[in-house]
């Protein structure tokens, strides 16, 4: 069963486009990456899922419940971490967590205590006294304390130091192992590649591709050559050429690659695994050309 399903979602702000034809799904227990440049439509999609704004077309469901009609029901089991955490400034961390927990039927004090210790959060401080990273931690604790089945995270590591980023992802990994489905919007391709199973690429409000990161864990090769002859073969694709330097993507076995390189009589060559960043640049580069 899909935890989140989005089908042909559209949002227009007057005449300007928010998102169009956005479709993807997040499976139970999956960490799903949502990647795109600023203004691509990531936050718009998330805001529709949380019923902050209303879609102009299409539909989205969480655990088969309509995000518009059954929003209240959905939020009983959905946690959200905003990219820019703007909670009540005059309240202490303790009060904010207590108020947040008050919206759920059962008490989650023990879980909140555990998370506060894990993220080294000072609960006596007022919200306005906190740094950006600590504000983010408060949002993470509020989102996770109620033991949600779906987590929606918008740039969750913004402002967190590397140790805390690691801590957060270890926690998210544990949550996903326990069946929690996670939609992770991020600019950090490294963290998406390391922790997500699949990723959706969005640009100018449209989904460019949904990629299974297993493919990237068994990656294509990026081959850079200097000098020699052109390499023409169905399994090799020229990505760019500048004077004697050529960059190819190769998919196939290593023996064939070495044979092709040998025949090309090259001056020099490097071979690397294709990273998510290269996939991203490739996808966005193609769009730019079109």
């Amino acid at each position: 069963m899909d935890a989140i399903q989005i089908s042909n979602l559209k949002k227009y702000y007057g005449k300007s486009l928010g998102v169009e034809e956005v479709s993807f799904s997040v499976k139970e227990g999956e960490i799903f990456g949502f990647v795109g440049p600023n203004g691509a439509g990531k936050s718009t999609t998330i805001r529709i899922l949380l019923n902050f704004i209303f879609p102009s077309g299409g539909f989205a469901t969480i655990w088969s419940k309509d995000v518009v009609k059954e929003s209240k029901e959905i939020k009983k089991s959905t946690g959200y971490v905003p990219s820019d955490v703007r909670f009540y400034e005059d309240m202490t961390v303790r009060s904010l967590i207590r108020v947040s927990n008050g919206f759920y039927s059962s008490s989650h004090e023990e879980e909140a205590d555990r998370l506060c210790k894990l993220f080294e959060l000072d609960r006596a401080k007022k919200f306005y006294e906190l740094s950006m990273g600590n504000k983010k931690k408060v949002a993470v604790v509020c989102a996770l304390a109620a033991k949600p089945k779906v987590l929606i995270l918008d740039e969750p590591t913004n402002g967190l130091d590397p140790m805390m980023q690691k801590q957060l992802f270890t926690e998210l990994k544990n949550q996903s192992t326990n069946g929690v489905s996670i939609l992770l919007s991020s600019h950090n391709l490294g963290e998406v590649q390391e922790y997500c199973q699949r990723v959706a690429f969005i640009k100018q409000g449209k989904i460019l591709a949904v990629t299974d990161l297993k493919e990237i864990h068994q990656p294509h090769k990026i081959v850079t050559t200097w000098g020699g002859k052109d390499i023409i073969h169905p399994s090799i694709q020229l990505l760019k050429q500048k004077e004697v330097k050529r960059v190819f993507r190769y998919q196939g076995n290593s023996v064939l690659l070495l044979k092709l390189l040998h025949q090309a009589d090259l001056e020099d060559v490097t071979i690397e695994n294709e990273s998510l960043e290269e996939r991203f640049m490739d996808l966005y580069g193609k769009e730019e050309e079109q």
Partner: protein, 269 residues
């Protein structure tokens, strides 16, 4: 009642500041009453008022020569200006309840929880009504104390009169609050909301003035809630049936419209 408690938590300091300020003003004004009873002051106010144009007297809420040596007349006259301030406070409270949180972004905290928008609107409105009632109760106590200190009323008489004043202010305040709630759902940002609040409160006040001064526009008085509770009228006729009707209809229409608008409103980032 999570939203209700949260709203009170976020507004109590402002409510307390207003309660202290209004109480101070009320008690100070009442402290002037004994000086109004001196012969020289009687002559002075009498002479000044006799010289005023009747239309101007109407505008000032003095439809006939008022004897300011009676505490009801004296305080009732000043109370209409305190009421203006109270109306601005309650309208601002209602306007800010939603749109300020939307502008500050704090409403996302509530929107991400399992609570419907109708409930948010209802509980925030109830919290504001509670704050308004608290201020009125404090003002009632302060006014009764002032009456007992400076007037020649006994406790029962003071309570009776003060309750009439403040219960009518409560009714008119609820009308302005309903207008504020509707405005809060319609505005996209809290920037400039203070100007709109002043325009609403003074705008309806001016409607009432026009209704009094220009005979052909007398109907306008029904749309000026401040006119419904002018002290002299309140003490003789009370609030008219038509005014009750306009007020209750305004409250219902504004609240129901606000609820429908808010249920469909996009949160601007």
């Amino acid at each position: 009642m999570n939203v209700f408690r949260l709203e009170l938590k976020n507004t109590w300091k402002n409510t307390l500041r207003w309660a202290i300020a209004l109480s101070g003003i009320t008690f100070t004004i009442l402290a002037f009453f004994p000086s109004m009873q001196t012969e020289s002051m009687k002559e002075l106010t009498g002479a000044k008022m006799e010289g005023l144009d009747p239309a101007l007297m109407e505008v000032m809420g003095l439809s006939e020569l008022v004897d300011f040596t009676v505490i009801t007349n004296f305080f009732g006259y000043v109370l209409q200006y305190i009421t203006l301030a109270i109306m601005m406070l309650v309208t601002q409270l209602a306007v800010n309840s939603l749109v300020k949180e939307e502008t500050d972004g704090t409403i996302e905290f509530l929107y991400s929880k399992s609570v419907s928008r109708s409930t948010i609107l209802l509980q925030k409105t109830l919290a504001n009504v509670f704050s308004f009632l608290s201020i009125l109760v404090v003002l009632c106590i302060i006014t009764v104390m002032g009456y007992l200190f400076y007037g020649d009323y006994n406790f029962a008489e003071s309570i009776k009169e003060v309750v009439v004043f403040y219960s009518s202010i409560l009714f008119v305040g609820l009308v302005f609050m309903a207008l504020g709630v509707l405005l809060s759902t319609l505005l996209k940002s809290s920037k400039g909301s203070s100007g709109i609040v002043i325009a609403i409160v003074f705008g309806t006040f001016i409607l009432g003035v026009m209704g009094v001064v220009i005979d052909d526009l007398s109907l306008l008085s029904y749309f000026s809630p401040m006119d419904w509770i002018k002290t002299q009228k309140l003490m003789t006729e009370g609030i008219k049936m038509e005014e009750w009707l306009v007020g209750i209809l305004t409250i219902l229409i504004c609240y129901i419209s606000a609820r429908e608008v808010y249920k469909r409103k996009d949160l601007h980032s």
